[in-house]
Amino acid sequence: MPKTEQALELTDYGRQDFAVCLGCKICASVCTVNDLSPGTNPQEMLQRLFLGQDVAADEPLVRFCTGCYRCTGACPWEIRIPEVIRALRHELGTESPFEKAFKGSVSLFGRVYEPYVLMKAVPFLLKGGYMKHVTRWMEYVGFHLPHKVKGM
């Protein structure tokens, strides 16, 4: 089974659900990713999913979708494209070190314990040029011990 098909199984959608797409491209006209990569068209991706074709991990929409739901808000069928993309990312294994650390914390504590996440993501943060923002983030600093959720 292609990965795109497996990804759809993680959502509330099946391939046939995209048959309702009218091809109006209103999603493309409001998509935030167009501010980053002009020419992005979620409708074209829906069409490929409907046809059972592949979607690649390095496509701008898959890489940069911010989950803003502007597409859903504009779509006559209110198709939740961000949730489809999230499933594609999951299936294509495109998690960033930060996302892995986030999930690691949830597995370990049942909650996101920020000191743990930051510690795990340090190499990524150093390499990614995040340290120059640290002075702007001082108001976020606080310390508390992690809470372990029972049964998680």
């Binding site: 993680l10 989950g67 209110e78 939740r80 314990y113 920020e114 995040y130």
Partner: protein
């Protein structure tokens, strides 16, 4: 009135100011916030498997069962996930912005006004979309600012995306999108979402970024200048 309170992970950490602000505002109005016992993470936007994501919030609702009928969740991601997980509408999962109604302002003790100050009320995405979980009054922040004499800016960008949820994935994405909002607005940026706060704060330069609760507390006479 007593509400069940779901702070979520960021309000126990980097968004501690929003947590304190909400608690203070509610206390001043005579309301009690009681935390859902042993709550777990809602999964935010990080899980591609819809059932897995919903499962987190279903656990939280299970823990709230029998204790609360109305649950307040300030973080927009937590609020959306909790509300969507409550498929049978067993609880009233409410965002605090929907509780700041006419009765709230009528009971509010005003100590300051906002005359001569310019604000950009910035909602971002999840408070406004998808419509099933959107807040009721999508002008509440500008109405508050205007009510107390402040000037409102940035109406055209209030619902644009700041790219906050990409900040620790593709920082350049967040910078570009946040700057689009910042360049088309003026004055102090007023937000409710912890991710919007971080995105705006990172790139706002000299401009201040405050939570809506900071604004309310300022009007009520708490603290110094905004």
């Amino acid at each position: 009135m007593e509400y069940g309170y779901y702070p979520g992970c960021s309000l126990t950490g980097s968004a501690h100011r929003l947590d304190k602000g909400i608690k203070k505002v509610f206390a001043k109005q005579g309301h009690t916030l009681r935390e859902i016992p042993d709550w777990n993470c809602c999964g935010a936007f990080e899980y591609g498997d819809r059932k897995e994501l919903t499962g987190f919030s279903k656990r939280n609702l299970e823990k709230a069962r029998g204790h609360f009928s109305e649950i307040v969740a300030p973080c927009p991601a937590c609020y959306k996930n909790l509300k969507e997980a409550d498929e049978e509408r067993e609880f009233a999962v409410t965002h605090p912005l929907d509780l700041f109604d006419e009765a709230f302002f009528a009971a509010m003790k005003q100590a300051r006004d906002l005359t001569g100050q310019v604000f950009t009320p910035y909602y971002g995405c999840i408070l406004l979309r998808p419509k099933e979980t959107a807040i009721q009054n999508t002008n509440i922040m500008e109405e508050t600012i205007a009510r107390f004499g402040g000037e409102v800016s940035g109406e055209a960008v209030k619902d644009r995306c700041c790219g906050g949820n990409q900040i620790f994935i593709n920082k350049d994405v967040t910078e570009k999108l946040s700057r689009l909002v910042l360049d088309r607005s003026q004055g102090t940026i007023v937000v409710f979402c912890p991710l919007c706060h971080m995105a705006m704060k990172t790139f706002s330069g000299e401009r201040k970024v405050v939570y809506y609760t900071d604004l309310l507390l300022h009007i009520m006479g708490e603290g110094g200048a905004l």
